[in-house]
């Protein structure tokens, strides 16, 4: 039994099942648990997936949205974190690279073709 395999055994218990297939360019809704003054509520963050990084338990998703006032906001969330309750794919996008960092430099409307 390889050493890496033993690490996987430990990680397995913390992995989430049934995570939808998400690709860069997709528009998603992240349902995030937020603690506010002892109270817990769910906050939804909608935006475009510009990067997926890492593997296994430490995989993260980077989602970018344009907030009010035209300010770009990016959130990096570990996919298997208990803070992330749910990922919802709103729209599938067709893009030709894995990391969409170029979107940060686009002025005006971001156009991404729909994937079928």
């Amino acid at each position: 039994m390889s050493m890496d395999h033993l690490v996987r055994i430990v990680e397995k218990e913390y992995l989430k099942e049934n995570i939808p297939e998400v690709r860069p360019g997709d528009t998603v809704k992240l349902h995030l648990k937020v603690k506010e003054g002892g109270r817990e509520r769910t906050q939804v963050f909608q935006g475009i997936v510009i990067a997926l990084r890492g593997s296994g338990l430490s995989r993260t998703i980077t989602v970018r949205r344009i907030a009010s006032g035209g300010i770009g906001v990016e959130r990096i969330v570990p996919i298997h974190s208990p803070v992330l309750e749910k990922i919802e794919v709103v729209r599938k996008g067709k893009v030709r690279r894995a990391k969409l960092y170029y979107l940060r430099n686009i002025k005006g409307k971001i156009k991404i073709k729909e994937r079928r």
């Binding site: 055994i9 430990v10 648990k33």
Partner: protein, 215 residues
């Protein structure tokens, strides 16, 4: 006093209930077998000798084989002694596995740090070195090593380049996060000395102290 011998498997991260990522080290530990007891009457101190990693008989030389035969245990690769307060709690031939530990226990982990060979003063002692550019010709050297005519010698123990690493290091007060007796795995919060596959000695903490940021 709880103790076990293990090998470092690797590091990963897990999440606690609040969603914080916790860095952890996975250790494959035990099962260990008690090979010998050291008693105050016989040896002047009390300790138990634990064996780890069984090996075939043909790999053992005759004097060692006699030692194992006497204890009535299978030959093992690693033998290590652990000081205990009372040896009567242990029996020769008794096996110890990871289930002696529980999540939440605080342990000291001893290992042998990665050997770095002949290392300079910057790596070995954290000296700052000199400027890298702007015409500087003084980059990674250690600077002055002493005074002049008085004392006209370099003091013993002066921090200088030399062999670094490959020494016994103990990390104290690591919290046990998870124990998996089925796969002989124990998971502790934080890092432990040495490379992956390196030998580790795990004991319950000598002076338990709750680390910063834990309840």
């Amino acid at each position: 006093m709880k103790m076990i011998i293990g090998r470092k498997i690797g590091m990963t991260q897990i999440y606690d209930e609040d969603g914080n990522a916790v860095p952890v080290t996975v250790i494959k530990a035990g099962p260990c077998v008690v090979v010998q007891k050291r008693t105050p009457e016989n040896d002047g101190y009390s300790a138990v000798q634990l064996g780890f990693e069984e090996i075939p008989e043909k790999k053992v030389n005759k004097p060692m084989l006699g030692h194992f035969k006497k204890a009535g245990v299978n030959p093992v690769r690693i033998l290590k002694e652990f000081r205990v307060d009372n040896v009567d709690e242990y029996e020769v031939g008794q096996t110890i596995d990871v289930s002696v530990f529980q999540p939440g226990d605080v342990v000291d982990v001893t290992g042998w740090s990665k050997g770095r060979g002949f290392a300079g003063a910057m790596k070995r002692w954290g000296f700052r070195g000199g400027p890298k550019s702007h015409g500087s010709k003084f980059h990674r050297m250690l600077g002055s090593v002493g005074q002049h005519t008085e004392p006209s010698k370099i003091f013993k123990g002066k921090k200088m380049p030399g062999r670094y690493g490959n020494e016994r290091v103990t990390i104290r007060n690591l919290k046990v996060v998870k124990v998996d007796p089925e796969n002989n795995l124990i998971v502790v919060k934080g890092g432990v000395p040495g490379a992956r596959g390196g030998l580790l000695l795990i004991r319950s903490a000598k002076a338990p102290k709750i680390r910063k940021g834990e309840e």
